[in-house]
């Protein structure tokens, strides 16, 4: 836990709210997607390349992976509906006939369902998280500066990451 806090602190200094929000959203997408998958790999690459909060990305992916397990039947149904949706079939057929595209697993119901749902949720969740972080920095950040006893708890060190640099 201690190691994670240190790692998070080191990686997340001078971070803007969008960095944390985007990390949260990318973590959600990764969490919902089946792990061994092209899209998962792509999200991980994005997380490393874009300057986002990695600790939030890891935390978010863990939380959403657990939720994803419960939502598996929903992903399957949604994915199947998308993949068999008549107007989209020419597109899927076209992709199907491009070399190596099948390896992405796009035609898998759970992959397509989780990808679709997570992408659909990505935009609103990004903005909501962004807004919440700003509000937090405005209204709650002073608590950690003024009550020394809270500084003693390591858990609040983690929460400090949300404060950013003043």
């Amino acid at each position: 836990m201690n190691y994670i806090f240190k790692l998070l602190k080191a990686l997340n200094s001078n971070q803007a709210p969008w960095q944390i929000s985007l990390a949260f959203v990318l973590g959600m997408i990764l969490g919902f997607l089946p792990f061994f998958n092209f899209f998962s790999f792509f999200v991980i690459v994005l997380a490393f390349v874009i300057n986002i909060n990695i600790s939030m990305f890891i935390l978010s992916s863990g939380v959403f992976a657990t939720i994803g397990l419960l939502l598996d039947p929903v992903f399957d149904k949604v994915g199947y509906a998308i993949l068999t949706f008549e107007p989209l079939i020419p597109l899927w057929t076209f992709l199907y006939n491009i070399p190596y595209v099948q390896w992405t697993g796009y035609n898998n119901t759970v992959v397509m369902g989780s990808l679709a749902i997570s992408l659909l949720l990505a935009v609103p969740i990004f903005f909501i998280t962004n807004r919440l972080i700003i509000k937090y920095r405005e209204k709650l950040a002073w608590i950690f500066d003024r009550i020394p006893i809270l500084r003693g708890f390591k858990i609040f060190k983690f929460l400090e990451t949300f404060k950013g640099q003043e």
Partner: protein, 590 residues
């Protein structure tokens, strides 16, 4: 603020490098483990692989020593393969399709033994004992019970009738013994009557008056009445004797009929009905063939699902969904091809202690698209074990009616010995095998398998009392065939076994049985004769007794009749009247 994080890229590259190194070093081990797990699940048997080696760039793979264990017998391998090597087509792999251009399967060995035995010796002996017990049922017929046992066990009519007459006639004899005492008294009666007649004669000589005549007349009448009474009694005795003599005749007749009935009944009951012959070939080879058939069907059922029709497979994929795995939706392919193909394959296997080589062609999981049936050819040149071996199999799912064919031809297959049911072994065999079997729609089984045994030497393994019979039956039989006609479905296969061995054995068996029957019948007849003669002898005694009585009665009857005649003659009323007339006239003569 920087949008991109270059150190992140470095970390990512390091991570990718680490994963690549991991795959380079551990990929083969991982695949080996996965293959073992997948094959074990698919074949429902434990599968072990010694090693898996891959060359990702050239897409060449080699698997060493695959062992598929027999699930019923953990000490036995159902299949063991020394080496499997194949290369994948990169062009098809881009479309997630596994097309093997060249496959090489080396040294397939079936039913290889493991070091430790599957059963304990006791269990093995118990099983052999059970097998051995199954055989004699048919030959139990040859074991006749002894005639003494039969006569003790069976309720004989001869005895029943004999005893009935014995009782009845013995009662009659007892009655006649009482009569005999009375009959003997007849002598006294006769003597007495004779005395009376003499007295009467004297009286007649000295007749003086009419009163004398009257008296004589009365005496004569009394005498006549006495004789008539005796004759009447004798007549009754004669009638009784006649009835009892008739009983003796009836006894002879009935005992004879009972004897004939017993003889026929016992002959029929204890003799053989040989009209149906014997189906020994079915009994001997049935279980072995059943086991081979079961194994064959089991192998077929293992292979068959991999050759499923395209539409069926697609439907199955659409319906089957595993949790956290999802379903793969398939779309129209611009250049359709099956998911899995083996274009050409070479294989070698160990069978009958010989190395057989072969090749396979066009294995695919969707023959509708591939439009080529899957074919397997196996053959071998002359070996120590056989002269020629040819196997051809064709799994054709390209047409509407699926048809799978299997042809096998083996010439001069030399087997040291074939032990059947621990009852007989055929040694130094040379077997010609011809099999032509087909399966329609993966369900209907049809075909025949013919084994021609030549130069065989049958050896009876039994050591009990019937061993000699079996030896006689199988003596000099060194050539026969066994034809197995297959039918039914894969779920409930049926087979009929026909063999000229049955005809040969039936003839010998009939001969042996006829000899036995003849001996049995003679013994039975002799014993029943003894029984009959015992009763007849007894009746003969009674008959003699009755004849004695008859003779005596007849004698007395004749004597009584003579006396009656004598009375009639001597004491005729008219004569007496004449005599009186004369005497009176003499007195009054002047």
């Amino acid at each position: 603020m920087k949008i991109f994080r270059w150190q992140g890229i470095i970390i990512l590259l390091v991570l990718i490098a680490l994963v690549s190194v991991f795959f380079i070093f551990f990929f083969d081990t991982l695949v080996k483990k996965t293959l073992e797990k997948t094959l074990s699940t698919a074949l429902r048997r434990p599968v072990e692989i010694q090693s898996f080696k891959s060359n990702i760039l050239s897409l060449k793979f080699t698997i060493q020593n695959i062992q598929v264990a027999d699930k019923k017998n953990p000490y036995k391998n159902l299949v063991q393969i020394k080496k499997v090597a194949f290369d994948l087509s990169s062009e098809k792999l881009a479309f997630k399709k596994y097309h093997i251009e060249n496959l090489s399967v080396e040294d397939i060995a079936l039913n290889t033994q493991r070091k430790t035995p599957a059963f304990t010796k006791e269990e093995q002996e118990e099983r052999e004992k059970k097998d051995s017990k199954k055989i004699p049922n048919i030959f139990e017929k040859l074991k006749f019970p002894s005639v003494e046992e039969i006569l003790k066990k069976e309720k004989l009519k001869t005895v029943e009738v004999g005893k009935h007459y014995e009782k009845e006639l013995s009662y009659s004899i007892q009655e006649w013994k009482t009569y005999y005492k009375d009959i003997q008294k007849e002598r006294e009666h006769i003597e007495k009557l004779k005395q009376q007649i003499k007295t009467l004669e004297n009286q007649v000589k000295h007749i003086k008056s009419l009163d004398d005549i009257k008296k004589i007349k009365e005496n004569v009448k009394s005498l006549k009445a006495q004789i008539d009474d005796r004759l009447k009694k004798i007549k009754n005795l004669k009638q009784k004797l006649k009835e009892d003599t008739q009983k003796i005749q009836n006894a002879y007749k009935d005992i004879n009929q009972a004897y004939k009935y017993d003889l026929n009944y016992l002959k029929n009951k204890y003799s053989l009905d040989l009209e149906g012959g014997i189906n020994l070939a079915g009994l001997l080879f049935g279980d072995t063939i059943k086991n081979y058939l079961k194994k064959g069907i089991s192998i077929y059922k293992t292979i068959s699902p991999y050759l499923k029709r395209g539409e069926e497979k697609q439907k199955e994929l659409q319906e089957k969904r595993y949790r956290l795995e999802g379903r793969y939706v398939k779309y129209v392919e611009y250049n359709p091809s099956p998911d899995f193909v083996i274009k050409e394959g070479k294989l070698s296997l160990f069978m009958f202690d010989s190395k057989i080589t072969g090749r396979l062609k066009n294995f695919s999981d969707n023959q509708k698209i591939y439009k080529k049936p899957f074919e397997i050819f196996l053959n071998s040149k002359e070996t120590k074990l056989f002269k020629d071996f040819r196997f051809y199999s064709k799994f054709d799912r390209t047409t509407k009616q699926e048809k799978d064919n299997f042809n096998l031809e083996i010439d001069n297959l030399k087997t040291k010995e074939i032990v059947l049911k621990n009852f007989i072994k055929f040694t130094e065999n040379s077997v010609n095998l011809r099999a032509d079997v087909s399966v329609l729609e993966e369900k209907i089984l049809n075909g025949e398998v013919k084994f021609i045994f030549e130069k065989t030497k049958p050896i009876i393994l039994r050591t009990d009392s019937s061993a000699e019979i079996f030896k006689q039956l199988f003596e000099d039989i060194n050539r026969f065939f066994v034809l197995v006609k297959l039918g039914g479905t894969l779920e409930s296969p049926s087979f009929k076994i026909k063999s000229d061995l049955d005809d040969m054995l039936s003839a010998r068996f009939k001969n042996l049985v006829n000899q036995k029957i003849a001996k049995f019948n003679t013994e039975l007849q002799a014993k029943l004769d003894q029984n009959r003669q015992k009763y007849e002898k007894q009746i003969q005694q009674y008959k003699k007794e009755f004849e004695k009585y008859s003779k005596l009665i007849s004698q007395y009857e004749s004597e009584y009749k003579q006396l009656l005649e004598e009375i009639k003659r001597k004491f005729d009323t008219k004569e007496l009247q004449k005599k009186i007339k004369k005497s009176i006239l003499k007195k009054f003569k002047f």
